[in-house]
Symmetry: C2
């Protein structure tokens, strides 16, 4: 009945999406301390900073310094987020990151306008140029579909609209002779429910069996972990997660972080799915992250405790 | 592939399991205010107090007064928790509650000892007497299996042990000529994972297709909502929930409440499963509950917002 993956790859977002949502500026050494601790958890993919203009995101003004100071562990791929080519150039200029070439589409025109001041059509028109640049730089490429499950701006997203963005990605790949490492469907506004996850992932899979599909899930309305489970049950093996569920203040209206890395890893491991992550070390990172941001984080496992100690008795 | 129920019945535990875990004594009028607000959400079953000795649970010393002062709404069944016959007599003496006759078994001997100072065998030995009393009083009866999915005291619970407790319930029913309204499997320690939920519920169903099985889920390790979804997918239609996820302080080690009523209802409604609950009224109750207890509650929907307003646009 179920089609669980044998292993799951989680991309750690705490240091980027997490810190970015904190209103108090976190000292650079604290960011470095958390990233270094995360490097020891078994994580293999970590976004460590965002190369955006400090005027827009003052929290990320120290992106270069963070990258310069972290201790890089072999086997972990470190990279930064960016919204435009200047950002990518800054990330590459650190000479420490193994950047991705990212192609982004939006299932909400209003959110696209708000985020990058472009329509989805204008965004797609930049793909040939971006692909050429990514090819020159020899970057791995992935595609991300923002608001694939609905948005607070434009409401529900019909399945046909998601499929049309995937079609566009596939056309771009053929025209530009690129290959995607993965296509990530982002539930940016926490609208997804498990039934929808199964329907949308299933439809994409049926149309493009060879695409590697991942999910970026936010736990805005409490469905995050159920969505993770539903996705696992249909074989999805890649998720963006954030330590402790960082990324949304527990007090801010409407904000919620990615699903918590430690809770997601616990769920996978209990289902017999290998994550390569050490739950007790993840819990230590949650405690460190809570001390750094100065408020409790929504993840549960750090308070409930892993079952390792109980089972050892 | 899925066997979702058409509708789901949720039993509201906030006023009992929720308030009980608060260290500050909540004024009676505040408890009454929340219960009265909950009565307007469409809830059909609500546990409003616990009739235990005030020496052990000072928070519940005003149980009778709470019951006397709430405004009872037709269509809502109000009842109280109790651990022994004195407690049941107190609940009945209020003359306002429609009590259940409860038969409890434990899948953790240590926890049974700790909770009621008896072995499971000693507990079962009281069933004939209890059933006679329940029959005399004309009470609806349900059975609850505590720690059915594992415990911090005695670790994993093999499927055979859960089935043995269900067997015992079924034998008792035959001997005592009683009928269970339902058998509730309680994940008292938050050990359950969705695969286990499906296995255990499936095995009970296979052996006793006519038993009505419900679940009491705690979100101790972040699996609560995934467990809810897994249970729904195999047709479970009854859950204990608590408004806002009350029942565990966000700061207390190891404690976590029932799954949040509003998040559970949102998940069901998004899957097309009728709960009879009004999400926006539930959100108002969460906000009231947070104001009353004086700290944020773990439920997400109250911060993320329901999708009703967005869809209406």
């Amino acid at each position: 009945m179920h089609d669980f993956p044998k292993r799951v790859l989680m991309r750690e977002e705490g240091a980027r999406e997490g810190f970015q949502s904190e209103s108090r500026i976190i000292p650079t050494e604290e960011k470095v301390r958390l990233i270094d601790a995360l490097s020891g958890t078994g994580v293999r993919l970590m976004q460590v900073a965002s190369f955006v203009h400090p005027k827009w995101v003052p929290q990320m003004a120290d992106a270069e310094e963070v990258v310069a100071r972290i201790t890089m562990v072999p086997g972990v791929r470190y990279f930064g987020a960016y919204l435009n080519e200047q950002g990518l150039e800054r990330a590459l200029a650190t000479r420490r990151l193994r950047q991705y070439g990212v192609l982004t589409q939006y299932c909400s025109e209003t959110y696209a306008k708000k985020n990058v001041n472009r329509s989805n059509q204008e965004i797609v028109a930049t793909f040939p140029h971006l692909c050429q640049r990514y090819r020159e730089l020899g970057l791995d490429i992935y595609g991300i579909i923002i608001a694939a499950f609905g948005s607070n701006y434009d409401g529900e997203v019909p399945l046909s609209a998601v499929l049309a963005t995937v079609d566009q990605f596939v056309r771009t790949a053929a025209e530009q002779k690129i290959r995607y490492e993965r296509i990530v469907l982002a539930d940016s506004f926490g609208w997804a429910n498990p039934g929808q996850i199964i329907r949308v992932v299933g439809a994409v899979r049926e149309r493009y069996p060879d695409l590697y599909v991942g999910l970026h899930l936010h736990d805005t309305r409490g469905t995050g972990m159920a969505n993770l489970y539903a996705a696992l049950s249909v074989g999805v093996g890649y998720f963006d997660t954030a330590i402790g569920g960082m990324g949304g203040s527990p007090f801010a209206k409407g904000a919620a972080g990615n699903i918590p890395t430690e809770d997601a890893a616990f769920l996978c491991e209990e289902l017999g799915i290998d994550t390569g992550l050490d739950l007790d070390r993840l819990i230590e990172c949650v405690q460190m992250a809570e001390a750094i941001v100065g408020h409790p984080l929504p993840g549960k496992l750090a308070r409930g405790g892993s079952l390792t100690a109980f089972r050892r008795r």
